[in-house]
Subunit: 420 residues, 2 copies
C-alpha cells in the first residue's frame, strides 16, 4: 500500500509561534481512508528547503499533501517550489483570477495587485477551487507521486480536502470510499460498565468501528463507517446506533456536540416547565452552564448559591437543626436545598448540589469527593450520592453534570405530560 | 548560524491519534536561545525510515533534537536507529540500569526484563539522566551535527531539555545564555491603550523583549530576558517591570498565571472582608470563578442568580418601578442588585451583573453586548457600563471579569483598613 507524507509550510510553525494542527487532522482522515502516513514534515518559508523537501517526499511517498505557502506574499513559496522542482513554468489561470477578483468585490474591497500570483499554477497542474478564501489549491503529479497543495488556514484546508482532494483520491482508488461518523453521548454510568454492555461492538475489527471516550464523566460512543457511498455508510451506522440506544436506555442523553444542559433545556422547552438551582459545592457552575444556551431565560428563572450554611438557612429555608444533625454534606440537606429553592423561586423543578470539593474540608466520615445532588418537583424530592476521585475542578464539574442529569432523567421518565 | 531540526518519533502522531506539541515547545525554546529551526519531521515507528531521517537531518542541520522512541518496547527504535546510522554497537550502561531498577523499586513494582534495553546506548554517546521516568536521553555527535534524543512524554522531555540539553548547548556556545520570563496581567483598558503607554518597551529590538497578548479582555505583558546568567537576566527584567507597573498603576492585578478572582480573594483575605454575588447576565459565572479557588468559602458567602426580573424583585429587593422605568439592563438596577444582595446575604461587599448577552434580546436603545456591573459596600454603590463586541460566551466571560475587577479596584483603593 502506498504511504503518504504530509508537509506544512510556514516559519510561524518552525519558530514555534503557531501549533500545526493540520497534519494531525489530515492524518486522521487518511487513516480513516486506509492510507498510512509515514512522515510529517514542517518547513520554514525557504525556497531551497521547500524544493528539497518536496523532492524527498515525492520520491519516498505515493501521496504528498502540502498545506500552507499559497498566500499572496513574497514568503509564500509552495507554487514556486513545485514549479522549480518539476521544471515547469507558472501559467496564469483566468478562471481562478476571476474568482479571486470577485471575492474582493463581494467584500467591497480593492484587490491588491500581488494577489494575482494566486492565479498562477505550474504548467500541467490542476487548480483546486477554494470558495472559502483567495488561495486555490494545486493538484499535480511528480514522478509517481500524487501531490495536493492546500491553504494553511485550517477551515479552508478542511473544506478543500473534503470537497476536492478526498473525492479525487477515491476516484484514483487511493482512498477507500466515504466515511460517516456518529457520536452518541451518555451520562450516569462508568466507562467499564458501558463498555461491558457493548463489548461485542467495541471489539477490534467490528464493522462499523465503535470507540469509547470519556470527558468529565460524560461517555461518548463514536461510530465510524466506511463504505463506497454515504447511503451504505449510513446503513451500517443505523442498526448499531439502535442497538446502543436499546442497551443503554436513558443513559443516552444526546448526540454529536450536545451537552447535558442542552438536553435539559430541550426537555424543559418541550414540557413548558421552569427550573431553578441551589448550589453549594458547584458555586454557580450548574446555572452558568444552563445560561450558556441562547434563550435559556425562558425556562431558567434563577438560583441561589448557598456556599455558607447561613445562606442555606436564610435563602433556602434549610432548617438549622438539619444542618447541625446531618451536616451540610448530606442527602437531607441536598433535598431541603432543592425544596426551598423551588418554593422560593416558584419554579416547576429545582436542582441542588452539596459536597466536599477539596483540597481541604474533609472529615473522617466525609472524604474529599463525597457529593450529593438533589431534585425537587411538585411531587416531592429525591437525591443521589456519589464519591468522585479527582481535582477540585473535576469534582465540581462532574457534580454539575450529575445535577443536570438528575433533572433530565426526571423529565425523560415523566414523559410529555406534566411531571407526576 | 547553525539551523536546527526537530524530529518526533511515533506512529501515534503520523496516524493522527496524538497531536505533537513537543516540536512547538522546543521551537519556542530554541528561538529564545537564538537558534533558528528549519525543519520539523515526524516519523512512524519504522527502523528504516528513522535511520534515513536521522541521516538527512544530521547532514542538513547543525543541531538535531529527537523526541520519542526511547521506551522499552519493540516499536521504540530511536536507540537502534542511531546505532545503525553511526555503525556503533549498543553498549550497556550500568549506572542508567541501576537508576531504572531503583525507580521500579521505589514504586514497589518489579522491573520487567524488557526495560533493560533502556540502559543501552550507542558506543561513544553520553547518557542524559531522566529523574522523571525510565527513559534516559542520548547525547552524541553524528558528523558535524549535535544530536540530543529525549523521551516523548512532554513532562519528561521538558525537564530533560531544561536540565540537561540547554546547559550543554550553552556550553558549546550554540545557545545564548539563560532565558528568564515574567508575565504581568492587567484588566480595565483596551490593548491599544496599554500598548500606547508602553510603545517604547514593546518596539522590536528592545532589550529585554516585551510582548502583549489578550485573552478575555485580560491583557498580559510578557517580558523575556536573555543573558549569560540568571542574575543578569533578572537585572534586565526588574526595571522594566517597575516601569510597566508605574505606568499602568492599578490596571495591573497580578503576575504569571494569576487570574482576577485569585487577586480578589487575596485582597479579601488581607482585609478580612466577605463578598456575595448578584448575577443576571453572567448566570453564575462570577461565583463559579471565585469558587474555583481552594478556601474561597472563608470569604465568599454565596449569591443570587436573578435571571428573571421576578427573582430580582423577590430575592434582591430591586423595586418593580425601577425595573419598569429603567429596564433590567441599567446602572440603577445593577446598583440595586448589589445593594439588595449585600443586605440579604449580610456581606461586606456585593457585586452584580446585568446586560444583554445575545444573540437575542436586543432593543433599539440596548444592543447586544451592553452590560452593567455594580458594587455595593458599606459606603454606598457604584456601577460601570460597557458595550462588548463578541459572542454570547465572550460577553458573559468578559463581564464576569469586569465585576471581579470592580471589587478588586475598590479594595486596592481603600487600602489595608476597612473600606471607607
Amino acid at each position: 500500500m502506498t504511504k503518504a507524507e504530509i508537509i506544512s509550510v510556514g516559519t510561524e510553525m518552525t519558530s514555534g509561534q503557531t501549533l500545526d494542527t493540520n497534519s494531525q487532522w489530515l492524518s486522521q482522515r487518511l487513516a480513516e481512508s486506509g492510507i498510512p502516513v509515514g512522515w510529517h514534515t514542517t518547513l520554514a518559508d525557504d525556497l531551497e528547503d521547500c524544493v528539497a523537501a518536496f523532492r524527498t517526499a515525492s520520491a519516498r511517498a505515493g501521496l504528498v499533501l502540502i498545506t500552507g505557502g499559497l498566500g499572496p506574499t513574497l514568503d509564500d513559496l509552495t507554487r514556486e517550489a513545485l514549479a522549480r522542482l518539476t521544471g515547469a513554468d507558472l501559467i496564469f489561470h483566468q478562471e481562478s483570477f476571476d474568482f479571486i477578483r470577485q471575492l474582493f468585490e463581494r467584500r467591497q474591497r480593492t484587490m491588491p495587485a500581488r494577489n494575482r500570483v494566486q492565479a498562477l499554477f505550474p504548467a500541467g497542474a490542476e487548480p483546486l477551487p477554494n470558495p472559502r478564501g483567495t488561495a486555490p489549491g494545486i493538484w499535480m503529479k511528480i514522478g509517481n507521486a500524487v501531490i495536493a497543495a492546500m491553504p494553511g488556514v485550517p477551515s479552508e484546508m478542511v473544506g478543500m480536502f473534503n470537497d476536492q482532494v478526498l473525492p479525487r483520491l477515491q476516484q484514483l482508488g487511493l482512498a477507500g470510499g466515504v466515511i460517516v461518523r456518529r457520536k452518541i453521548n451518555c451520562f450516569g454510568a462508568g466507562e467499564s460498565a458501558v463498555e461491558e454492555k457493548l463489548q461485542d461492538l467495541t471489539r477490534r475489527g467490528h464493522v462499523p468501528e465503535v470507540g469509547i471516550t470519556v470527558h468529565d464523566a460524560i461517555i461518548s460512543l463514536r461510530i465510524l463507517a466506511r463504505a463506497p457511498t454515504r447511503e451504505e455508510a449510513e446503513r451500517q451506522i443505523w442498526p448499531v446506533e439502535q442497538t446502543i440506544r436499546e442497551r443503554l436506555g436513558t443513559l443516552v442523553y444526546g448526540v454529536e456536540e450536545e451537552e447535558l444542559h442542552d438536553a435539559l433545556l430541550r426537555l424543559l422547552a418541550a414540557r413548558k416547565l421552569t427550573i431553578s438551582t441551589a448550589e453549594s459545592l458547584t458555586g454557580g457552575m450548574v446555572a452558568q452552564r444552563i445560561c450558556q444556551v441562547p434563550g435559556a431565560s425562558a425556562f431558567f428563572m434563577g438560583g441561589v448559591i448557598a456556599y455558607d450554611n447561613r445562606i442555606k438557612q436564610e435563602l433556602l429555608d434549610v432548617p438549622a437543626e438539619m444542618l447541625a444533625q446531618c451536616g451540610a454534606v448530606s442527602s437531607q440537606v441536598a433535598e431541603a436545598m432543592a425544596r426551598g429553592c423551588r418554593q422560593r423561586l416558584k419554579t416547576d423543578l429545582a436542582i441542588s448540589t452539596t459536597g466536599i470539593a477539596g483540597p481541604g474540608g474533609a472529615t473522617p466520615t466525609k472524604p474529599v469527593g463525597l457529593v450529593f445532588v438533589g431534585l425537587a418537583w411538585n411531587g416531592g424530592e429525591r437525591s443521589l450520592q456519589y464519591n468522585w476521585l479527582g481535582t477540585r475542578q473535576e469534582i465540581q464539574s462532574r457534580t454539575a453534570n450529575m445535577a443536570l442529569n438528575l433533572a433530565r432523567l426526571h423529565l425523560e421518565k415523566t414523559g410529555a405530560g406534566a411531571p407526576a
